[in-house]
């Protein structure tokens, strides 16, 4: 599964993408797995209320299931326009 990071999430983690092999059933479980990797991941994910997630390029909740999912992205609230 591809995991993508944007904006300051990308900066805190230090790279734009990970390819992970995971048994995580939900986004929240994936977050827990990633946070356990290294401090910079734990820091990036320390406040989930400041984060948004997209599952296969659709905005989703942190309890969204990951079965069959190819791409998950984490980023701050969007500021387009």
């Amino acid at each position: 599964m591809d995991v993508l990071y944007f904006a300051w999430v990308r900066e805190r983690i230090g790279h734009p993408r990970d390819t992970v092999d995971t048994q995580a059933a939900t986004v929240a479980e994936l977050v827990a797995e990633l946070s356990a990797r290294e401090d910079r991941y734990a820091m990036a994910f320390s406040d989930l209320s400041a984060l948004r997630v997209a599952v296969d390029q659709q905005l989703a909740d942190f309890d969204a299931p990951l079965a069959g999912v190819r791409e998950v992205a984490f980023f701050p609230p969007m500021t387009g326009g």
Partner: protein, 148 residues
């Protein structure tokens, strides 16, 4: 419907003219253009816009399709730039064509409100002191309540 996500500048005049010319059967054309404000004394040197290639296009497409579904519209145009922009440059535009003015205005406002908070763009302001991600505004999130 035309959606364009691009790093190059766009020509507001040419886009407005072409959009209107394609909709002579519509009585009302509304455009909105967003500009990097060029303020005297402002330390802003540039604005960098990051986006999520792939998702950006599909999110803008979904937002435009929702507008077409919800209002009586002839067409929708959305252009949004990414990359480095300097003060005074145009960031994005939307245009709507409708038989009646209320639909054209409401759909354009809806597009802007959704685009602000639901399309995957992130702005970063560059000054002599460094780079700062623009924080999302509660009022932009609140603006979506109007369309709930």
């Amino acid at each position: 419907m035309r959606i364009s996500v691009q790093s190059e500048p766009f020509d507001l005049g040419a886009e407005s003219t072409a959009f209107a010319a394609g909709h002579r059967d519509m009585g009302a054309i509304v455009t909105f253009t967003g500009v990097v404000r060029d303020l005297p004394g402002d330390p802003l040197e540039a604005m960098e816009i990051e986006h999520y290639p792939g998702m950006t296009e599909s999110a803008l497409h979904d937002i435009a399709a929702t507008a077409l579904d919800r209002w009586s519209l002839g067409d929708v145009l959305v252009i949004h730039r990414h990359g480095r922009l300097t003060p005074g440059e145009m960031i994005m535009m939307v245009a709507t064509a409708a038989p009646h003015r209320r639909d054209a205005f409401e759909a354009a406002e809806f597009l802007m409100d959704y685009l602000k908070s639901r399309a995957p763009f992130w702005k970063r302001e560059m000054t002599a002191k460094g780079a700062d991600w623009v924080a999302s505004k509660a009022e932009d999130e609140d603006a979506l309540d109007r369309w709930a």
